[in-house]
């Protein structure tokens, strides 16, 4: 089932949570809404689910208006960040809930409910926990129960709100792979909200980067990392090395000194030059576009990083650069930086 979000705006007491958001999610895709907290991603998810209503705009499922249907009628599976399991019910009854509340012709006989729940518990690999209560489960197990419960209503759309946020790193990684597999097996369109870029990049077919109620970029994990559309996306995804610059007459300046780098058509005025730390080479300070003083050098495992203080017109900035192994870098010495790949964004971008 495809999802269309058309011009959705939502404000809370003067605070704009979503500002004219447009998004198309084709059938069968797994899309991640990625952004810092307060970017509106959870609000968008809840609007798609029918747990909240927008001030204006449309939500369409397979082209049909969804806003005039209540959350119960939309038949979406929703997985909550804190699981929201019914603690007075066993795991089995939690999963059976969506089937038991059906009325009239949709009501299933007890045997059919039992069969369906058993099948779901086997699918999420916790059939041996059927008689336990949520309080007796670990975080990872609770999340599996929450997922099985959401899948019990045979949803065509699966919405997940920070599903792995409350789990420790190892379980998170394991569940992530498993969720991806599950998505492949089921005929669902999935939307996942996360602030964890690693999760979004690893799991999703496409990533929707959100900031301050707007969509900054939509693209494959490769696209948003390699060719960020805005400075926000460059900053938010992956590591960035950021330097203030000016664009004058199509050329790049650092203070009064012209820099031998392409301005990439950025608008006149103040701009920012952004690069990935591992795409910046160290060089002789006399010949490099940037140079500065080495403040500290750190090593974690295979990675070495140096803090380099660069003098700029407004004072100085400290950037973190990657240091190749074998390169001796003395603290206090001057070093030059040459970005191999970089992006220049006007201050407004």
């Amino acid at each position: 089932m495809s999802i269309d979000v058309v011009n959705i705006t939502k404000t809370y007491k003067g605070f704009t949570a979503l500002d004219a958001v447009n998004l198309h999610i084709p059938t069968g895709e797994l899309v991640a809404l990625l952004g810092p907290s307060g970017s509106g991603k959870t609000t968008l998810l809840r609007i798609i689910a029918g747990l909240e209503w927008p001030d204006s705009g449309e939500v369409r499922f397979d082209g049909a208006d969804a806003l005039n249907r209540s959350v119960g009628e939309r038949n979406v599976g929703f997985v909550f960040q804190h699981y929201a399991l019914f603690r007075h019910m066993s795991v089995f009854e939690n999963v059976a809930f969506g089937l038991r509340v059906r009325k009239g012709a949709d009501k299933l006989p007890e045997a059919a409910i039992r069969a369906k729940v058993s099948e779901l518990l086997a699918l999420v690999q916790i059939d041996w926990l059927a008689d336990r209560y949520p309080a007796q489960l670990s975080g990872g197990q609770r999340q599996r129960v929450a997922l099985a419960r959401a899948l019990a209503i045979s949803p065509r759309i699966l919405l997940l709100d920070e599903p792995f946020g409350a789990l420790d790193a190892k379980v998170r990684k394991e569940l992530r792979r498993w969720l991806r597999q599950l998505h492949e097996e089921l005929p669902v369109t999935s939307v996942l909200v996360t602030h964890d870029q690693e999760e979004a990049l690893e799991l999703a077919d496409r990533v929707v980067v959100m900031g301050k109620g707007r969509i900054e970029q939509i693209g494959t994990p490769g696209e948003v990392y390699e060719t960020p559309a805005t400075a926000f996306v460059h900053d938010f995804i992956g590591e960035s090395l950021s330097l203030p610059a000016d664009v004058r007459g199509g050329r790049l300046f650092l203070g009064e000194r012209a820099i031998a780098l392409d301005s990439q058509g950025a608008s006149e005025g103040p701009a920012r030059l952004l690069a990935r730390p591992h795409e910046v080479d160290l060089a002789d300070p006399a010949q490099a576009p940037f140079f500065g003083k080495v403040l500290a050098v750190r090593t974690f495992g295979p990675i070495r990083r140096a803090d380099i203080q660069i003098v700029v017109p407004s004072g100085h900035v400290v950037v973190e650069a990657a240091v190749p192994f074998g390169e001796g870098l003395e603290i206090g010495s001057q070093v030059g930086l040459v970005p191999r790949r970089y992006r220049v964004f006007g201050a407004q971008a």
Binding site: S70, V71, G72, V76, F80, A84, F86, F97, G98, I153
Partner: protein
Amino acid sequence: MATATASRFTFRKPSVIPGFGLTFGLTLTWLCLIVLLPLSALFLKTSELSFDRLMVIMSNARTLHALQISFGLSLAAAAINLVFGGLVVWVLVRYDFPFKRVVDAVIDIPFALPTAVAGIALTTLYAENGWIGSLLAPLGVQVSFTPLGILVALVFIGLPFVVRTVQPVLADLDAELEDAAASLGATRGQTIWRVVLPTIWPALLTGFAMAFARAVGEYGSVIFIAGNLPGVSEIAPLLIVIRLEEFRYADATAIASVMLLASFVLLFIINRLQHWAESRGGRGR
């Protein structure tokens, strides 16, 4: 004596919190002085009676009726408070309306008001010429000076117990639970019946128990509105006072002991029910 092996009995489990000896000693002393000593005096006094005499007192029609009135109406009042107190809690927690704080504060008035004042006020209201009584009189309903009046007084004093015990629990209830139920296709009614009520059930039971305990012991407000006709609208606490005034101390303590035992048994049952409801749900989410 047990040998010094791993299975040695220890009264106190090892803990990092100091001061167990001191606080436990103080707790026991305090409990003895304030609660157990008066209660044991009560039973001591009762034991002066022979078993036959006790049976005679307890099988007295007037005594039996007073106990029946006290326990029956207290249970009924607690049940009424369970329903309407629950409703009040729902409104206070779930909705925003003008003067919500004032309404919230009004709930506590039965706690603070001298019970005699409450009794007199209720009697005046429900008397045949009172504001409410005059409306009910044409319908043939008489409240003041009947068991119905006792019920009204017991409902009045018991309400805050239910509201104040359930309110924090409902306020803490995770809104996501109701979102989850709705997303699974449950109607509002099903959500409340299958998700909300079972979650706040232990708190409701506690409120019920407290309202009941308070009603059984209530004296001040009831004696004004009850009319106190022996065999009709006489409550057990009043009968105890009457027996005291007749210098029949043993009779009074006998009735008191029976009340105490019955209350204890009822509260114990409610407590077990509540424990069962809680253990079924466990803690955590």
